[in-house]
């Protein structure tokens, strides 16, 4: 018998199935599917794995948690709260924590996994953004991803509100406040969600069915769609000698990538379980049950809602107005709903905005190096700064207390920083990108600095440059001229195109100019050719060359 042939019994079963479902052909294709190996392509997997952990630990929690707002008196093994009146939801959470074996651990796993889940989504989105992997043909998958991020945040907020401890109720109160700020419909929306006045006795059962059924089901469907589209469109990859728009280079799905991904699941699980075992999170038994009369210093939302807390904290009330006796609380409306809308929908529309500005409708399978799209990278860093300042502002009382800074001072610092910070970040990030581009051009033309110093016969010391490898040359040459629409073209009769004359046309032309004007041209640079060129003169000539490339003749 041939050593490579499977045993006869297995072969028989295999052939039986294969004759009917043609599994071998499908398996052959999909098991050999290639995944590029770079650590930044594993970020989405962290999200997937923490989501699986969330589903499993969440199922465990539902076995004991009772989403009821019925009033009960605690009588259990946590002595300190014996005789205290509370809701059934809070009581069952205490029971789960102190009387169910492993209950507290599972609660902490669930909570830490939630924090890691949203964090990995953000991390993953940033990777996709900065490498331009959202461009055609992947816009739809990017929109799905952004929707997952939005739903995950809301899912987290609802989960935070379920145990009916003190921060739960305070979070809901803020949610209700933001709803009430809606002109005309605010009070109706609030009454509709809470089934009456805040807090009522319906909100927890309602949030429960959303938290454990509706949103997870939608999330699961979106994640499945995200995955299927990824599978169909294939992964993006970083530029290299063999990596092209048409050909993916990486490890095959089976066995290499499957083993690695399987192992990575256990890394993720181990770190979440380690945190859950050693670091206390959300100690609801210390918070006490929620009562509308109670409030506590130092209670914040989980981190992914921190930016909203921050925007509410620093937005001034100077613009609140009354119209015919009806208050328009802009100090809640703008930071609460406006900023939330910006953070959630901004990413969703960006691929289409960028394609409109640049007019780039080509499919892209090779990822951009962030430095080669300086304006996009600058915008991304500006967005991170904006979000980060709001996020920090959400913890201003903790920062003030921990670092002994006056609370008012922190508010003023953040008010200025949220406006100035993104602008500075944009300028700095873009300058760094352009600097890196110049260095790339230098490396491409002169080779890399070898660290070897040589003395010439004339006595001059020089550093020997060595030729870059073939792969490095490909990476450096992956920088393409930025795509640029040509709206000011004239037709054969010398008439301007109609697109240019409209307001949108002019806006688009201005934006396109802004988006592409700063860029170091690699035109005419031959790899490893420029050893003996004099540096300064060369730089100047190159600058001239850039300008003639981008400034159009009127």
């Amino acid at each position: 018998m041939n050593a490579n042939e499977p045993p006869k019994a297995l072969r028989g079963v295999g052939n039986f199935i294969d004759d009917r479902f043609h599994l071998a052909k499908m398996g052959e294709k999909n098991l050999r599917k290639v995944f590029p190996t770079h650590w930044s392509f594993m970020l989405g997997e962290i999200a997937l794995y923490s989501f699986i952990i969330l589903l499993l630990s969440g199922v465990f929690l539902t076995l004991w948690f009772d989403p009821s707002m019925e009033h009960v008196t605690y009588d259990g093994s946590y002595q300190r709260l014996n005789g205290v009146g509370m809701s059934r939801a809070y009581e069952s959470t205490l029971h789960l924590t102190f009387d169910v074996r492993g209950g507290l651990f599972m609660r902490q796993v669930h909570h830490w996994a939630a924090l890691i889940f949203v964090a990995s989504l953000v991390f993953h989105m940033l990777r996709v953004f900065f490498t331009g992997a959202f461009r055609k043909p992947r816009e739809i998958n990017w929109v799905i991803g952004a929707t997952i991020f939005m739903l995950a945040t809301i899912e987290g907020l609802f989960g935070y509100s379920l145990p009916d401890d003190l921060p739960s109720g305070m979070g809901l109160r803020i949610l209700q406040g933001v709803m009430m700020s809606l002109p005309l419909v605010g009070t109706y929306v609030s009454m509709f969600l809470f089934g009456g006045e805040f807090p009522g006795d319906l909100i927890i059962p309602r949030l429960y069915s959303l938290h454990i059924l509706v949103i997870p089901a939608v999330l699961l469907a979106l994640i499945a769609a995200h995955f299927m589209i990824l599978w169909h469109q294939k992964h993006t990859q970083y530029p290299g000698a063999k990596e092209t728009e048409k050909k993916n280079i990486g490890a095959p799905m089976f066995p290499a990538f499957a083993v690695k991904a399987g192992g990575f699941f256990f890394f993720t699980f181990a770190i979440i379980a380690g945190l859950a075992a050693f670091v206390q999170i959300n100690p609801i038994h210390l918070f006490g049950p929620f009562s509308p009369t109670s409030i506590s210093a130092g209670t914040q939302p989980d981190w992914y809602m921190g930016f909203l807390e921050g925007s509410l904290r620093i937005f001034p009330n100077w613009f609140d107005v009354n119209i015919a006796g009806y208050a328009i609380p802009t100090a809640v409306l703008v930071p609460g709903l406006g900023i939330m809308g910006l953070v959630f929908t901004g990413p969703m529309v960006w691929p289409f905005i960028e394609a409109w500005i640049t007019g780039d409708r080509r499919p892209h399978n090779v990822a951009d190096r962030p430095r080669n799209a300086p304006t996009r990278t600058g915008l991304g860093v500006a967005a991170i700064t904006f979000y980060g300042v709001l996020w920090l502002a959400g913890s201003n009382d903790i920062l003030s207390h921990t670092f002994s800074i006056s609370l008012y001072t922190t508010t003023y610092i953040f008010r200025v920083a949220v406006l100035v910070g993104p602008v500075l970040a944009f300028i700095i990030a873009k300058r760094i990108c352009l600097g890196l581009q110049r260095r790339d051009r230098e490396t491409l033309e002169h080779g890399y600095e070898s660290g070897t110093i040589q003395q010439l016969p004339s006595g001059e010391f020089i550093e020997v440059h060595k030729e870059s490898s073939e792969n490095m040359v490909h990476v450096l040459q992956s920088k393409k001229p930025l795509p640029r629409i040509d709206v000011d073209a004239t037709d054969e009769n010398g008439v301007e195109s109609p697109a240019k004359r409209s307001i949108m046309g002019r806006l688009r032309e201005g934006l396109a100019h802004w988006y592409t004007k700063d860029n170091v041209s690699f035109d005419g640079v031959r790899p490893n050719s420029g050893h003996h060129l004099h540096h300064d003169g060369f730089e100047d000539a190159a600058e001239e060359h850039d300008r003639s490339e981008t400034v159009r003749t009127p």
Binding site: W112, A119, L166, D302, N396, H401
Partner: protein, 313 residues
């Protein structure tokens, strides 16, 4: 040497040097720098031991003249020091004096700043003398220090007693007495009432865990981790700093007892969720750990496993 030579050009070598330097300086500093505790302990040993329980007005007068009068004035009338109006002490009551001095806030180093809790500069006997002198000299119409058989004082500490075997015994006895007094004081307290009162009146500023928090205008609410029952009682009676006064008409003595029992519960409560409680600061600390430790470690794993794969390609 060869070992170092082989590795000093490693990409991570720079980071290793920086981390080592930080560790050396950090550890060195903790050993060399005089900590507040150590400095206070030295000062404390110099103070004469006296435990006959008798009040010595002359001693109180001396302490007042040396440590209080320079800012508050010889007649406790208050005066202007630098840019700050130091308040008059007339009518603040013995409870306020006892609270400020026994929590180490007074004598203050800087009249412009809110004082943190420190190890007290005087022994409790000396503070008793000072309070007696204060009430004798400036009137006793303000709130008084609660009687020891009503509210247990401050838990005894080991370094208040001689370091020999006798001292050990005396300390244990005092501790036992204090624990008994405290147990009987809180025996009929109502947890639910205490919790509700705490969450309604105290947690706004001192936070759910007693960790304190920021207040307006550069002030802050101190943490309650070390506050003794008597100090809690006095703070409610006198309303130090930005704190409102909760006199016996607002919050009855019984309710104060419930609050004190609840705070004591919080102080003694172990952390069920693991050895790292993140200072019971709450969600901000959790998010910080989630990003700095959680996601960073997972990403480090991703870098590691993909790097391994690469070298085999």
């Amino acid at each position: 040497m060869k070992w170092i030579t082989a590795r000093r050009r490693h990409p991570l070598a720079g980071y290793v040097v920086v981390i080592l330097a930080l560790v050396v300086f950090g550890v060195g500093y903790t050993f060399l720098a005089p900590t507040a505790d150590r400095a206070e302990a030295q000062q404390d040993q110099a103070a004469p031991e006296r435990s006959d329980g008798k009040i010595d007005l002359a001693q109180g007068k001396e302490i007042f003249a040396q440590s209080c009068a320079s800012c508050h004035g010889k007649n406790a009338e208050g005066k202007r020091v630098g840019d700050t109006d130091v308040p008059s002490l007339i009518g603040v009551g013995g409870a306020a004096v006892d609270f400020q001095v026994s929590t180490g806030r007074m004598p203050s180093m800087n009249a412009d700043k809110q004082m943190p809790r420190k190890y007290p500069a005087f022994t409790q006997d000396e503070i008793d003398d000072l309070v007696a002198f204060y009430e004798d000299e400036f009137g006793d119409d303000g709130p008084k220090v609660p009687e020891e058989d009503l509210v247990p004082a401050t838990a005894p500490e080991r370094n208040q007693f001689p370091s020999d075997h006798e001292g050990e015994k005396a300390f244990e006895k005092a501790k036992e007495e204090y624990d008994e007094a405290f147990a009987s004081y809180t025996s009929n307290s109502d947890t639910e009432a205490g919790m509700k009162l705490y969450l309604t009146n105290c947690a706004h500023c001192h936070s759910w865990s007693g960790a304190g928090g920021a207040l307006t205008d550069g002030r802050w609410a101190p943490e309650l981790h070390e506050a003794s029952p008597r100090q809690l009682y006095e703070a409610m009676l006198t309303g130090p700093g930005a704190m409102p006064v909760f006199n016996d008409a607002t919050v009855s003595a019984e309710d104060k007892q419930n609050i004190i029992a609840y705070v004591n519960d919080l102080q003694e409560e172990p952390d069920a969720g693991g050895p790292f409680a993140l200072g019971r600061v709450g969600q901000v600390a959790e998010g910080f750990i989630g990003w700095t430790i959680g996601i960073s470690l997972i990403v480090a794993c991703a870098i590691w496993i993909t790097a391994k794969q690469r070298s085999h390609d």
